[in-house]
Structure formats: structure tokens, C-alpha cells
Symmetry: C2
């Protein structure tokens, strides 16, 4: 099985399979005499495992951890659950952050006429919360967590 077939079978692009190999997420694939990478059904299982973990937004470092646990038949499920719950917590944090942004912006937008007149509370707010001070809505404009952890996968 060459890399193209493995890619189709696993749902991971050939590009990414090579990348995963370079960063050590998967061990180096076997090679034909001509230098082509070869994959076994077991290799494809691993790749599929990785893809599903990535579908949950799990960053690669954590995927590496999960693959290790998966392959260790004696792992305590406690460890797996800890990793999963950490992931859930980070997703929740990210969701909360985005939700705060969304709510604040949606509220601003709802205050905007959206007509041909130039007057616009959205721009007024962006230009300086200090000006339009004292309206009760939580202005965001501070408190950002500053994470990253992707979550950006174009399948």
C-alpha cells in the first residue's frame, strides 16, 4: 500500500502523512527499493485513529499521547479519561472566549441602525470604550485568555 492509497483509506492527505512522520507522530514508514513509502493495514488504523482524534480538535502533542496510550494495552483508563477531560476543558474555555466576543459584538450590532446614515455605535465603541462608557453590558475589551490549540481542520 503506497502513500496515496493510505491517504484515501485513512482520510489524511499524503502531505500530512509525511508531515506526521517528520514530527514523529507516526514512526517512519517502510520503503520499497525505489524509496516509496509502504503502509500496512495496521499503519492505516493508526492514521485513522489520529484523524478521529484531530476531529475532536486534539492538538498533535496530545494526539501523540493518546496514540501511546492506545498502543499500550495495559494503560489505566483513568489516564485516557484525564486527557479527554483536559481536552474538553480547553474546548469549553475556547467556546467561552468566542461566545463572549460574539455576544458583545452582536449586542453592538443590534444597536446599529444599519441604514444609509453614517452614525454607528459599532465604530463608536471600537474607537474608544471610554467615550461610550457606563452602559451596563459587559464590554469585553480586556480579559482574553490567549490560547491557540487550533481546532481548525479542513477535512
Amino acid at each position: 500500500m503506497n502513500i496515496g492509497e493510505a491517504a484515501r483509506a485513512s482520510g489524511i492527505s499524503a502531505k500530512m502523512i509525511r508531515y506526521y512522520e517528520t514530527v514523529g507522530l507516526v514512526p517512519p514508514a517502510g520503503r520499497t527499493e525505489a524509496g516509496y513509502r509502504t503502509y500496512t493495514a495496521r499503519d492505516v488504523d493508526t492514521l485513522r485513529f489520529i484523524r478521529r482524534a484531530r476531529d475532536f480538535g486534539v492538538p498533535m502533542e496530545r494526539v501523540k499521547l493518546l496514540v501511546g496510550l492506545w498502543q499500550d494495552k495495559d494503560r489505566p483508563s483513568r489516564e485516557v479519561k484525564e486527557v479527554a477531560l483536559r481536552q474538553v476543558a480547553e474546548l469549553e474555555a475556547k467556546i467561552a472566549e468566542l461566545t463572549a466576543m460574539k455576544d458583545a459584538l452582536a449586542e453592538l450590532a443590534s444597536a446599529c441602525h444599519g441604514d444609509n446614515r453614517p452614525d454607528c455605535p459599532i465604530l463608536r465603541d471600537l474607537a474608544g470604550a471610554s467615550c461610550s462608557a457606563a452602559h451596563p453590558a459587559p464590554t469585553l475589551h480586556s480579559a482574553k485568555t490567549g490560547e491557540r490549540f487550533g481546532g481548525n481542520r479542513s477535512a
Copy 2:
């Protein structure tokens, strides 16, 4: 006002101010004879405007658009509102995506004993949804939007 003072006054790092200049988000700053960048109070206002927009997760391209609208005293508020609502829609899409991930993973985790035994439904699911088929929960495992639009700002 040099770049350090402008950075403190605007809340944007000096690094990022220079970067914004190179990508054309802000016009080139004035320079002293020695080559130091100089900033006026107006420049700092613009930088603050940018920071606040970024706090809403607005990507740079969109920020550029907003700055343009802000500086055009005759813009119709309709245009500004459209941009804001587009942003809200993208935030919502991202939130929905993360929430789907979070819910699916949280459900899996809740099914895991989390003790010293190796048996783990989380790993079983990751190893192949086809095996543990037919459980009613929406398995995610498909349908990803694949966006990016940051939203990652460490203030």
C-alpha cells in the same frame, strides 16, 4: 512619541505595530532623523481601534476594512453592520463546531470508568467508529467546516 510609548498607550506590542505597518494595516509611521518611528495621538487612536477590533476576533483583513469605514465619515452604517454581522456569523459557526466536538468528547469521556482497568470507550471510539457502531449519539466524525479566522489573541 516613539514606538514603545505608542505600544503602551495602545495596548499593541511594538513588534505588532511594526508588523501592521509592513502589511499595510497602518500607514508608515513618521521617522526621526535617526530613523526612530514617531507616533501622534491620532496614530495611537487608530492602533487602539485595531486592538479592540482584534479583541472581537476580527481577522486583519476585516480590520483593514473597518478602519477604512471608520475613517470615512460618510460611510453608511449599513456597511459597518454588515461587517459586524458577518463576524458574528463566523464566530457562531466556530462556536458550533467546537461545541459539537466538546459534546461528543464529553459524552465519550462520561462513558469511561476512569479507573485502573485498561478498558476504555474513548480509545475504542477513536480506534474505529465502525466497530462501536449504532450507538445513538451523533458521532461527529465527519462534517467539519475547516475555517481558521484566528480568534486567538493573547492580550
